[in-house]
Amino acid sequence: MKKRLFAFFGILLLLGVLLPFAGSRRALAAGQACPQIIDEADILKPTAEMELGAKIAELESKYQTNIVILTVTDMQRDELKGGQRYYDIQAFTEDYYDFVYCGGQEKDGIILCVNMDYQNREYCIVTTGKEINRFQSKMDYIYEKIYENLTRAEYEGAAETYLKLIETKYRLGFYPPSLGTVAVCLAIGLLVGWLATKGMKGGMNNVHMATSAGSYMIPGSFNVRRQNEMFLYSNITQTARQTEHREGGGGGGIHIGSSGFSHGGGGGHSF
């Protein structure tokens, strides 16, 4: 009996340690419990979930925001849209954040949703409240960085990158430019510097051979007596029109979600 009692309390203690982290629900300021990492697609290892959960808890506490990672295999929830299936990952992610995570309240936060549907793997980031302006201008950059991990099936790595990018933006206010960007800017700087100096040098020598006599043309003396044209031939080229198509649906930018709250994000991207 004692052993069973110890085992029972032991399990309770273990749950007490794990609950604030992975796959758990956390008590927010409003008193509502919300999951931080919802790994329905089961692509994150439990240990990684713990580490990620700890990191999220640290960032949320430090920057007073909500950070969510959601992985799914289909976009259908009983509590959303009357149980109908979503075909737009951005709409699904927004509704999930507004109604499931925040219980219908508008709260500052950022959510990454990875859809592991075998027919259409895609991911999407949605921002709400103060996070819209913080991340919107760099959304492409964030997508690009996460994409590098997702295409290599490094799902923990993608989640770590996501958290690292959030932290960097909060800590520095900007993302340090890549080496390639620095090299391009350096090349532009040197080129402009060289051209400007060349122009300045050119301005120090005004001795040039005259090639035209335009200034000696008698005003009003130019008279066109005859001008005619002869049609030779024509050719027509046709090119297929580009139709706007974004795989996975969902456009980026700032807009109002079905909840009536403003959201930012980059729309759905396949990987």
Partner: protein
Amino acid sequence: MSELVSFKCPNCGSPLMYSAEKRRFTCEYCGGDFDFETVQNADVNADAEFDWGDYKENVSGESLEGTVSYVCRSCGAEVVTDATTAASLCPYCGNAIVMEENVSGLIKPNGIIPFRVDKKQLKEIVANYCKGHKLLPKNFITDQKIEKIQGLYVPFWLYDCHADGTMGFNGTRVRAWSDARYNYTETSFYYVECEGEVGFSKVPVDGSMRMGDPLMDSLEPFDFSDIQDFAYGYLSGFVADRFDQDADYCLPRATSRIKSSVATTFTSAVRGYYATLTPSRSNIALDHTQVNYVLLPVYFITTSFNGQKYEYAVNGQTGKMVGELPVDSRRSTRYMLGIGAAVFAAALAFATFIL
């Protein structure tokens, strides 16, 4: 054989100098101030008293590879100079002289633009020209010394021309439209012909081999409405060259400039109707209706800075200065790196915070 003309003060007989500022002749010894007619009338008398027989014996004529010698009527010194020099100053007494034969021996100039810029203004012109150039060596403006200023009448040919003819072009027009599935672009090709005429007046080409064509071209424009009838008096106090490249020799340069302008004018007349226009054929006849020989005023200035000599030219009518200023290579490098660093920082900030 050169015939010398100098202008002496009707009051004291001292050499007279022509003042570009006052546009009159002045005597530096007695302070006399005379207009052109007074001096010329007085000078006619002086010439009549001169014993040309003695003078001719002392002139050796064109010899020694294009040089001539002359005897100064003021101090009697014998001076050797270039065969093409038409006016000069006696290096011994400073008497202004004009070698008439070099002016009138072949062709007398049809006109002359007198110096309108005074020598006193040149220092200011040089200083202004150097201003605003950030790559000049440090202290160049303040430490540069004017070593020599020479006012020279440069021989120029002025070509009046009437261009008449036809130019052919290959032109294209582009039309674009779309339907639900495709974008279409239709490019139509045309042969365009334009026939017309245009006139040119007083296209200048210098007739002196010693003068670089780019340098003389750069002195343009001259205000040709200020051309005066040629009179020897204008040469007094300045050096003048006689042409050594005749009108036929200089004609190709004038033709080249005129043809270039004709092509530009014809092209601009039809360009508006086509997306692209490329000249394909040109049949322009140039009728050179008139060629004038004129002397135009140019100052040549030699300056020195840190042991180096720099040469410039100034349009003696308008004051336009031309020449190549020295570049401080260290300053140039500093500017290149400074501008480059500023642009690099701006580009990096743009890429980081805005893109």
